[in-house]
C-alpha cells in the first residue's frame, strides 16, 4: 500500500474484525480488588493497523491477553467477525487461534528450544491444512516465507532457534505469521528488545505483511513515536480505560486528552524543544 493510501484509507466502512463492548478485567476481590481493564469499547476493522499505547501498568497486556483468548474477561463481550467469541473449550480455543496469532516482546522465550527451525515452519503449514502437500511444495512455501522476511531458508535448516540473533528470531516469528495467515495479528511490543536498525526492518515487514494478506494488526507499545509512524488508528490507554482514540494524525498531532498531551510532551524530540520543566509538577503530584 503506498503512503498516500496508507494515510487516507477510511477503515470505518470496512467490515469489523474484532470488537469489544464493556470489556472489563478485575483481579482479586473485596478490598484488594484491582480493575486492570475498565469497561473498554473498541472496533478493529479488516486490514486496519491499530496501536494501543499506554505506560507500564495501564492494562495493555491484560487487554491483549483477553483479545488472544488466554484469559477470560470478567464482564463485557468480545465479538470476532461480528459474532460473540466462544472460547469455552479447548477445541473452540484452537479454532479461534486460527484467526488470531501473536508476536511477543521477547523472541528468546517465544520458541520451543527443542524444535528446529524447519519444524517450527512445518507446524504452521500443517496447521493451515497443508499436511497432504508434497515435500517439494512444503519446502517452497517455507522458502517463500523466509524470503519474505529476508532470511535464507537454506542457512536456517537444521538450526535451533537459540542459534539465531534476536532480530532474526523476531523475523522468523513474522515468517510463521506469513504461513499461518491469520485474520488478526497481535504484536505485543515486538521491537522493544531489538535495536533501532532491526526495529526499522521489523516495522517494514509488519506493514508489508498487512498489505499482502490484508490482516488486522493490533500493535501494543509504550512508544508513542513508533505508534504514530506505523498505525492507522491509535488508542491511548490510561488506568485501564481508553482516554482517546482516532486516526493517528489526529490523536498525535492534535491531542485532546490531557494524558495524551503529557505522554507526547514527555517523549524526547528532534525538531521541537524537550521541555524538562514540566517534571516539577509531576513530582509534586
Amino acid at each position: 500500500m503506498s503512503e498516500e493510501v496508507r494515510n487516507n484509507t477510511d477503515f470505518e466502512n470496512k467490515p469489523l474484525c474484532l470488537s469489544g463492548r464493556g470489556v472489563t478485567k478485575i483481579f482479586g476481590f473485596g478490598d484488594k480488588k484491582t480493575v486492570a481493564v475498565d469497561h473498554v469499547d473498541f472496533d478493529f476493522h479488516e486490514g486496519e493497523f491499530v496501536s494501543i499505547v499506554g505506560e507500564s501498568g495501564s492494562g495493555k497486556t491484560t487487554l491483549s491477553k483477553m483479545l488472544l483468548g488466554l484469559s477470560n474477561q470478567t464482564e463485557g463481550q468480545i465479538l470476532f467477525q461480528g459474532k460473540p467469541r466462544d472460547i469455552s473449550s479447548g477445541r473452540k480455543k484452537k479454532e479461534y487461534w486460527k484467526g488470531i496469532q501473536a508476536i511477543f516482546q521477547d523472541p528468546f522465550s517465544s520458541f520451543n528450544t527443542f524444535q528446529k527451525v524447519d519444524n517450527v515452519l512445518l507446524d504452521c503449514i500443517n496447521m493451515r491444512g497443508g499436511k497432504s502437500l508434497s515435500k517439494k511444495e512444503k519446502f517452497d512455501m517455507m522458502t517463500e516465507a523466509c524470503n519474505f522476511v529476508n532470511l535464507k531458508f537454506a542457512e536456517l535448516t537444521n538450526k535451533y532457534p537459540f542459534e539465531l540473533s534476536g532480530g532474526q528470531m523476531q523475523r522468523l516469528m513474522i515468517a510463521r505469521i506469513f504461513l499461518l495467515k491469520p485474520k488478526i495479528l497481535l504484536a505485543d511490543e515486538p521491537t522493544s528488545m531489538v535495536d533501532a536498525c532491526s526495529r526499522a526492518t521489523i516495522l517494514d515487514m509488519l506493514l508489508n505483511l498487512r498489505d499482502e494478506t490484508g490482516m488486522t494488526v493490533i500493535f501494543i507499545t509504550h512508544d508513542i513515536g513508533l505508534a504514530y509512524y506505523i498505525s492507522d488508528t491509535v488508542y491511548i490507554m490510561e488506568h485501564g480505560k481508553f482516554v482517546e482514540y482516532g486516526k493517528a494524525d489526529e490523536v498525535i498531532l492534535q491531542p485532546k486528552a490531557a494524558y495524551t498531551k503529557r505522554l507526547i510532551s514527555d517523549v524526547p524530540k528532534i525538531h521541537e524543544e524537550w521541555d524538562l520543566s514540566t517534571v516539577d509538577q509531576l513530582s509534586e503530584n
Binding site: E3, N7, E55, S56, N150, S165, G166, G167, Q168, V194, D195, A196, C197, S198, R199, A200, T201, L203, D204, H222, D223, I224, G225, L226, A227, Y228, Y229, A248, D249, I252, L253, R262, L263, I264, D266, V267, P268, K269, I270, H271, E272, W274, L276, T278, V279, D280, L282, S283
Partner: protein, 335 residues
Amino acid sequence: MGKAMLEVRNLKTKYVTRFHEDVYAVDGVSFTIEEGKSLGIAGESGCGKSTLALSMMGYYFPPLHYISGDIIIDGKNISGMKPDDVRKTILGSEIAYIPQAAMNALNPTQKIIRFIEDVIRAHDPKKDKKEIREIAAARFKELGLPPETLDKHAVELSGGMKQRTVIAVSTILNPKVLIADEPSSALDVTSQKMVIKMMKELMEKGYIKSMLFITHELPLLYNVTDDIMVMYAGQIVEKGTAQEMVFDPVHPYAHGLMDSILVPEEGTRGQKLGAIPGAPPNLKKPPDGCRFAERCKYACADCRYTAIPEKPFGDGRMYRCLKDVDELKEVYANE
C-alpha cells in the same frame, strides 16, 4: 578548549571465552571529554558500548581483559591499576557508574542511608555517621528527593524513584566523570524525564564535572548530550556535536542509524525508515578492512581489504570511511 576531564587513548580490551578465544570488544577507541561537557555513545546491541564503560572504570574481571591504551581522569592515568585499587581510590570519587539494571543494584535488606555510608566510608573510613546523614539529607533535598527516602528500603520505592536514588548515591562524592549506561531504558517516559532532569541538574550545579551517556535511543541522546559518537563493532565510526550527528551524519552506518529515529512529530509518518540489513561481524576475527563493509550499500572492493584510520574533518569531527565527506554527502543527497 576546556580542561580534559576524561581522556581515553587507543583503548583496547578483549573478552576471553571459555574456549580461549579472544573477542576484541573495544578496539582502539580514543576520545576526550572536557570539563562541563557530556558525550553520548550510540550504537546497536553488541557494538561494545557497555564494555567500553566497564573498561574505563578499570573493571577488569575475567572474562574481560585489558590489552593496551590509556585512561586518564583529570590528569591521572588509571590504566593498568588493579581492580581493587581502582575501587578503593577511584570509584565514587573520581568516576561513578550507573549500570543498566541500576534498579536492581540496591540490596533489599538495607536502608538507603547505609549505601551512602558505604560509599563515603570507602574513601574516608573515619567519617562520623551523623555527618554523613547531614551530607546525604542536604544532597537529597537539593535534588528534589524527599529526605525521608534515606530511611526507606529499596522495595518501598517505585522504579523511577529507585533509579534517581541510585544516581544520588553514586554521585555523593562529586565524581569528575559520571558514566550512565542506559539509565532510563527500563523506565516509562515520565520517569525517564525525571531521571534526565536530575542528571542535568547535577551537571549544572557542578556536582559532576563531565558525563558519558550510553543509550541506543537517539532522540534522548540528542536532547541530553553535547557531543555524540557512534560505535560499530568495537570502533568509533563517527564523532561530532549532537546537532551535526543527527542532522548531518557522514558515515553510512551513522546515516542509517539517524534515519531510523522515530519521534511523534509531524512528517515522520511519511518518511522511509533507514533499515540496515545484515548482522555485525564476528569480533573473534574482525575483518581486515572496514568492519561495516559487508552491510554497507556504498562499499567497494577496496573497503573490504584496506584498514581504515580515523579521519578528521570539519570542526573537530571525525569519521572512519574510505570515501570522502563530499562524495558521501552527494550520494545521500541523490537518494
